[in-house]
C-alpha cells in the first residue's frame, strides 16, 4: 500500500530530516514509528500525506507517486487518509461537533449522514458531552481526542496518528489504542508515531525505528527501542 524508495528530505533551511529511507507497509498493517525527538517521524508521515515533497526518492501510495501528483488530485489523496496531527490543527472558530463534521462535509456527505455519524464517533473518544464547545475551551487531552475523532470519522483507508496519546492519561490512552486496534482489525492500515514505550511494548506490533533521519530497525512484533 505504501512504499518509500530511497527517500531523502532536506528542508529549505538545510536540515536533513530523512536520509535514504526505504520501506513498505502493506494494507491492513499496524505500524509503530519510534525514535528520539527530532528523528524525522513527523517528516516521514508528512511525505505520505503530501504536506511536504521528498527532496529525493519516491513515495508511492496505492500505486500512485505522491510526489508527482497534480494539485487537483491532492484533496482526494488526503480524504482517504485520516491524520491525527501532532499539533492538533483544529479549526478555532468551529465547535467540536463542527470540527469533526467538517471532515465529512469536505468529502461531500449529506447533512443527515453527518448528524447521525458525528455523535457516534464523539462518543467513541469519550467526548459526547463536549460537542458544542470550541477548541479553546477544551483541555489538552480533549483536543487531542477531537483530532482522533476527526481522523476516523471518514472511514479512511489509512490512519496516521502522530503521537496521539501525548496529552492523555494511561487509561484514556489505552482506550484510544483499543479503538485504533478495532479499526485496524476491520482492515484499515494504521501508522502511529509515538514515544509511549509501554504501549509499544505491550502491543507487539511491527516497529519502525528512526534515528537522525535514518531507518535503523524494522521489526515485526517489535519492542520500543531505537538503538541500532
Amino acid at each position: 500500500m505504501i512504499h518509500l524508495y530511497n527517500v531523502t528530505k532536506i528542508y529549505p533551511n538545510g536540515v536533513k530530516a530523512l536520509s535514504d529511507v526505504t520501506l513498505s507497509i502493506r494494507k491492513g498493517e499496524f505500524v509503530f514509528l519510534v525514535g528520539p525527538s527530532g528523528a524525522g517521524k513527523t517528516t516521514l508521515v508528512r511525505l505520505i500525506f503530501r504536506e511536504e515533497l521528498p527532496t529525493r526518492g519516491q513515495v508511492i501510495f496505492n500505486g500512485k507517486n505522491v510526489g508527482r501528483m497534480r494539485m487537483v488530485e491532492v484533496p482526494y489523496l488526503r480524504r482517504r487518509i485520516g491524520m491525527v496531527f501532532q499539533d492538533f490543527r483544529l479549526l478555532p472558530q468551529k465547535t467540536v461537533f463542527e470540527n469533526v463534521a467538517f471532515a465529512l462535509e469536505v468529502a461531500g456527505s449529506g447533512r443527515r449522514d453527518i448528524r447521525k455519524r458525528v455523535p457516534v464517533i464523539l462518543n467513541m473518544v469519550g467526548l459526547a458531552g463536549k460537542a458544542g464547545m470550541y477548541p479553546a475551551q477544551l483541555s489538552g487531552g480533549e483536543q487531542q481526542r477531537v483530532c482522533v475523532a476527526r481522523a476516523i470519522v471518514n472511514n479512511p483507508v489509512l490512519i496516521i496518528a502522530d503521537e496521539p496519546t501525548g496529552n492523555l492519561d494511561p487509561e484514556t490512552s489505552w482506550e484510544l489504542m483499543k479503538l485504533l486496534m478495532d479499526i485496524n482489525r476491520r482492515g484499515t492500515t494504521v501508522i502511529m508515531a509515538t514515544h509511549a514505550w509501554d504501549i509499544v511494548n505491550a502491543m507487539k506490533k511491527r516497529v519502525l525505528a528512526l534515528t537522525g533521519g535514518r531507518l535503523i530497525r524494522d521489526e515485526e512484533q517489535g519492542a520500543y527501542c531505537y538503538e541500532a
Binding site: 484533496p75 488526503r78 490543527r89 478555532p92 472558530q93 468529502a107 461531500g108
Partner: protein, 295 residues
Amino acid sequence: MKLNIVGYYFREAVQSIWRNSWLSMASIGVVAVSLFILGSSLLLVLNVNSMVGALESRVEINVFIKDKTTPAQIKEMEEGLRSMPDISEVRFISKTQALEEMKEKFGDKKEILSGLEEKNPLPDTFRIKTASIEMVQPLAQQIEGLPQVDQVRYGQNVVEKLVAFGRWVRLAGLVAMILFAIAAVFLIATTTRLSVYARRREIGIMKYLGATNWFVRGPFLLEGMLLGFLGSVLAVMVIYFGYFSLVGTIKVSLLFMLTVTDPGLILPVLEGLVALGLIIGAAGSTISMRKFLMV
C-alpha cells in the same frame, strides 16, 4: 454543483460573519467608506456637469445683419440657421426691439437715446444658442462668412473662459473619480487580504483535511460578497439620504444652481455601487486567498 454544497457555503458564510463579527464589521465599514467616497465623487461630477451645462446654455452668439437686407432674405437666413445641426435656438431681434432693450439697460438715463427712434443706428440681430459650448467659436466663424452678416459677437472672452473651465472641471472630476476608484479597490483588497491573512491557518487546515480549492474558496467568496453587499447598501443609504437632504438645503439658498435630482440619473449610480460592492467583495476574497491555497 450539488445543492448540498450550496447549502454548506451559505451556512459557513453566515456563520463566519457572525462568529468573526468584529472582523466582519470592519470589512463592511471599509467597503462602505470606500464606496461612499466613490459614490459621492460620482454625484459631484454629475452635478458639476449639469452646472457647467446650465452655464453653457446661456452663452449666445449675436449676429448683426447688414442694413440693406430685405425681410425675405432675413427669413431665408433664419431658416438656414435653424437647419444647422449644432444650433439649438435661434431668436430674431429687430432693430426696434434692440433699441427697446438698450433703453431698458440705460434705465434712468434712457433720455440719452431719445431721438434715435427716427434714425435707429442699431442693426437687426439674430441671437443664437449652440448645443455645446465648444461649438460657439467655429459656428461664429462660419456664420461670419454668410453674405448678409455684418458682424458676429459672442463675448469671446467669456466663452473661452467657460470652455476652459468646463474642461477643467470635467478633467478634475474624472481624475478624482479614477483615483478614488483605485483607492477603494486597493483598500478593500487590503482589508480582505488582512482578514484572509488572519485566518490563514484555518485555510491551511481545511486543505489538509482534503478540501478542494473551490470548497475552501466557496464560503469565503460568499462571505466576501455578503460583506461587500452590506457595505455597499450602507454606503448607498448614507449617500441617498445625505444627498437629498443636502440638495434640499442648497436649493433654498442657491436657486440658480441646477442640482441633479432626476432619479433616472441617480439610481443607476446607486445600483452600480451595490454591484461594485458585490464584485469587490468576491474579487477581494478570491485574490487574497490564492497564496494560502498552495498547501
